[in-house]
Symmetry: C2
Subunit: 208 residues, 2 copies
């Protein structure tokens, strides 16, 4: 049986290099191409038709990973896309799965985990790192923690550093209402102060 062909997509050379070295130890896995951006990735897929694409989400300039995955799906590619990234933000996970990713690995994953993910991907199995799975699970169990549209809107403005008064003016509501929304947001995010809410929103929810 021939080896599983893999395309690596990451804007950091060291990461590609490391992944290549790791995967190279497995006889049934062969890295056939590398790309440093979403655009390059699309071209590389055309040229090499890899069975698996390992894709970082944050790519310095140009097309990001999510967009690249969408483009691949749009072209009816048969590649299984594995997200391989540093952060497990809720927003990123949802967006990646939505775009058509087969799995979601974190960069601190153990080698065995990575190998298993590649092998699983070609068989149509979804594999994800434990922290990622736990986040998804968490969301399924606690739909109460989902922000309403209005709350999300307010949280977005919050991350710009506005005061309650400014938030009220911007949204044409009273300061009292702003406070009510904030209290709900804090509860859902599991924080107690606006500072923590902002930190959580920008980091975990991917609002930047």
């Amino acid at each position: 049986m021939s080896a599983i062909t893999v395309l690596l997509v990451d804007d950091h050379l060291v990461v590609r290099s490391g992944l290549k070295a790791l995967l190279g130890t497995q006889p049934d896995i062969a890295v056939v191409a590398e790309a440093a951006s979403g655009e390059e990735a699309l071209m590389a897929v055309e040229e090499h038709s890899p069975a698996v694409v390992m894709m970082d989400l944050a790519m310095g300039a140009g097309m990001d990973g999510i967009e690249a995955i969408k483009q691949l799906r749009r072209r009816n590619g048969k590649q299984a896309v594995l997200v391989f990234t540093t952060y497990d933000s809720d927003a990123d996970i949802v967006r990646a799965v939505d775009a058509g990713a087969m799995g979601y690995l974190l960069k601190d994953a153990a080698p065995e985990e990575i190998f298993a993910a590649v092998r699983g991907a070609v068989q149509g199995k979804s594999v994800m790192s434990a922290p990622v799975a736990s986040r998804l699970f968490q969301q399924l169990r606690n739909p109460d923690e989902v922000l309403t549209p209005r709350e999300a809107e307010l949280l977005g403005l919050l991350t710009e550093g506005l005061s309650n008064r400014e938030l009220g003016q911007r949204l044409f509501i009273s300061e009292a209402t702003v406070k009510t929304h904030l209290a709900h947001i804090y509860a859902k995010l599991g924080v107690e102060t606006r500072a923590a809410a902002i930190a959580t929103a920008i980091r975990r929810e991917g609002m930047r």
Copy 2:
């Protein structure tokens, strides 16, 4: 002449692996040890006495890179420490240099740049990636806006959503001192509230 001995410190196995593969192509550079945390790094230095330590700043759990560098300096180690990280945040750069780092490389640096940095480090030369240098240059022109190491440290904790009291406890200083630092930070960042400072820090300063 014997090869330059290097210790790699990064919590991501792929990054260590990639760096090792890259450096392995150079006959005059030898990776003699690896560590996945600040604590491990200190032990590895004891054991292997490398000439150069390549250190990531953000290490999942435990001691972070800055603290590890400080500890190394405190022990009178002769290792040249090169920071090798993803982000070029002003605060991190200031703190790393202050802690005693010899150079500051970004993970998307070209291989030649990395090799040159390692070779330069053992000769006492400072090497840094272009974006990093440009930031420092920018700061030299506006010295009034440069955060002091202590301020940068405080700002880092601020972005985690801590209250003034918690900041004081964490840094072993009074709440009054925390407020003084914050006032200075706000002035330097050009903001008026803690919320705006966090937003600015995470977005502009790349702190996450």
